[in-house]
Symmetry: C2
Subunit: 373 residues, 2 copies
């Protein structure tokens, strides 16, 4: 990777979206439609440069855009395409600035691609990194907000031409609340932009290199498939993922609550895990994995269900009875495991106050302090 980054090729889009789907940890929305649209733009001559964080200057102004709404809707209600661009213009006008690059708030799922699309329209580069290193369901759950980004202004735009600017919001939770309800009015699929940030701040708080990480994960999956290797085994060998369970989906419970997909999946062990039971709790994303009643992986660490046979990442809305899955865990980036971060994205923030976060990869005595479910 040159110090000035690299230009995204059409052939990068499939592995990027596949890796992003995996980093979505079950949620984050389907990147497929965005990927097709990005491909069209590249074919028409658009060029998007991926900039490493180190190439960002302290005084650069970096915008962050992404889709907001219900992942399941974004597959059925195809975006007009420039929703995020119009939201970006909304915050630029409100702050009287112009951004010189974009960054994703959420590399997991469709929001890996949204800033690339907007960058292609606007002729901007995209910074290689994001605010989560995965997917989370709410706006305030990014390192940008966790480490102090002013939540004002934000902006949301739809396919019809509506643009709403959150000119002054008391805190990031109000921003989430207002934006979520306007997103529902807009048909549960809209473009969103948060306050542009100084380059120095982005370099300090962004999870680095996550677009490239997604590209590499997707490349590993595609390469393994092409060579008829076992995808799950290749992923375990080539990434810091750990296998926690292999099993068959015995039950799935899902309901839409407050605009989110809430629920859980029950798995019955197969192979090495025959005789064991696993349970995965869901709020759009996979939140906690219990194996035989003991918490094995918990948010903000990444929990992913892969189809055992194909290695295809299975998002929460695709879970169904009888699927054979490998459940893997990947440690979250250190920036989303600090005490400040855990207040916003730790187990208690998701309604599991009884779970003390026990990070993957930590010594086992630390992990043992986590209480049962």
């Amino acid at each position: 990777m040159s110090p000035r980054g690299y230009v995204l090729e059409e052939s990068d889009l499939l592995p990027l979206s596949l890796g992003a789907a995996l980093l979505g940890t079950g949620g984050g929305g389907n990147p497929y439609v965005g990927m097709l649209r990005a491909r069209e733009l590249l074919r028409k001559g658009a060029s998007v440069e991926i900039l490493p964080l180190e190439a960002v200057h302290d005084d650069d102004v970096i915008g962050s855009v992404g889709g907001i709404g219900a992942p399941v809707v974004s597959v059925e209600k195809i975006k007009q395409g420039q929703e995020c661009l119009r939201a970006l213009r909304g915050v630029e006008e409100a702050m009287n600035v112009r951004v010189s690059a974009l960054i994703s708030a959420e590399v997991g799922g469709s929001n890996s691609i949204e800033p690339i699309l907007t960058a292609a329209y606007a002729g901007l580069p995209v910074v290689d990194g994001d605010g989560m290193g995965r997917a989370f369901p709410e706006i305030q759950m990014s390192t940008f907000f966790i480490y102090g980004l002013d939540p004002s202004p934000g902006a949301i735009a739809d396919d019809k031409g509506n643009v709403v600017v959150f000119k002054k919001v008391v805190d990031m939770f109000w921003l989430e609340r207002f934006a979520r309800h306007i997103a529902v009015d807009m048909g549960a699929a809209a473009g969103f932009a948060t306050a542009p940030m100084k380059g120095a701040y982005v370099k300090r708080v962004a999870v680095p290199g996550t677009l490239t990480q997604a590209l590499e994960i997707g490349g590993t999956i595609l390469d393994a498939r092409a060579r008829r290797h076992n995808v799950v085994e290749r992923l375990l060998a080539k990434t810091d993922a750990t296998l926690f369970f292999t099993g068959k989906v015995a039950d799935v419970r899902r309901e839409l609550r407050g605009g989110f997909a809430m629920g859980e999946a029950m798995l019955t062990g197969v192979g090495d895990h025959a005789g064991s039971q696993a349970r995965v709790a869901i709020q759009n994303e996979n939140l906690v994995l219990w194996v035989d009643g003991t918490p094995a992986v918990m948010v903000p660490d990444l929990i992913m269900n892969l189809e055992l046979e194909t290695g295809e990442p299975i998002t929460t809305e695709m879970l169904r009875y009888g699927q054979q899955l490998a459940v893997i865990g990947i440690p979250a980036h250190d920036l989303i495991k600090t005490p400040e971060a855990l207040k916003i994205v730790g187990p208690a923030a998701f309604g599991y106050p009884e779970l003390n976060f026990a990070p993957l990869g930590a010594p086992s005595d630390v992990r043992a302090s986590a209480e049962g479910c």
Copy 2:
């Protein structure tokens, strides 16, 4: 009234709010808290000039502000006071203008007072007129929007410091939808501002003289009470009101639906109306009065319930079993009875497509064409 209008006196506030409550036609929110706050400001030296429409210059820029939310909440959740001022600043900044005067969108109920309060804070005059000549439940139901005001931008502000700007909205119905949901988030009581208007436009479409009309109606009620006259009789003599029914509330049905108070009241006749039945349909305001099954008065004409004994205007949330009421009707201003206006505020717009609007005061053969309920 001088050509430059008049300065509002502390002693004007009580009759103004009483008359505004009556013009609220059962809704519009209680002006009492706003009136107390306005009184405090006047006592502290604030001065608010009421400008006749003729005194507005074509190039003046006129702002319109008011409360938005559920009337019943505004009585329990006392406003911080400067919500409308912050919303006004939001639209001023979005359009890069400063207004030179304010006008109410809705003289009926609490929004008669809100622009006066904001004017007292901002040192602005208030134009003697409004966009409804009464109260209506939704934003688009003012002559400002009916005759073509661009719905962008609008702004809404709460007591906590949140300000949301509807920077670009496709039409006035989207503005209503977005603003209604943000108002609910804000606790169902917030300040609202619509796009500032040219003086020439306001002179063409505003219902003229309605602040003074409210003042005079309130004055008539207070004067009659002081002299121990029959208030209802005095109102019938001094205004163009007509008595349609006197009766006792036999039943009230009310429910909150979509943020509105919907329902109906059943009345059993007393006195001259003994043996008759009346029914009043409600969406925040009184919409249609039927007497013995025949529509007698219908929106946009004004329907008002007054306590038979005291002449006190009874708002829809105050209706209760056993009250003795006089139900009067007042013809709406011509500006809200044009074909364009009836599309937005006629019976069909409120869910009564079977009723052809039969205006009060029209020849009886026109009224006879209205169909039964």
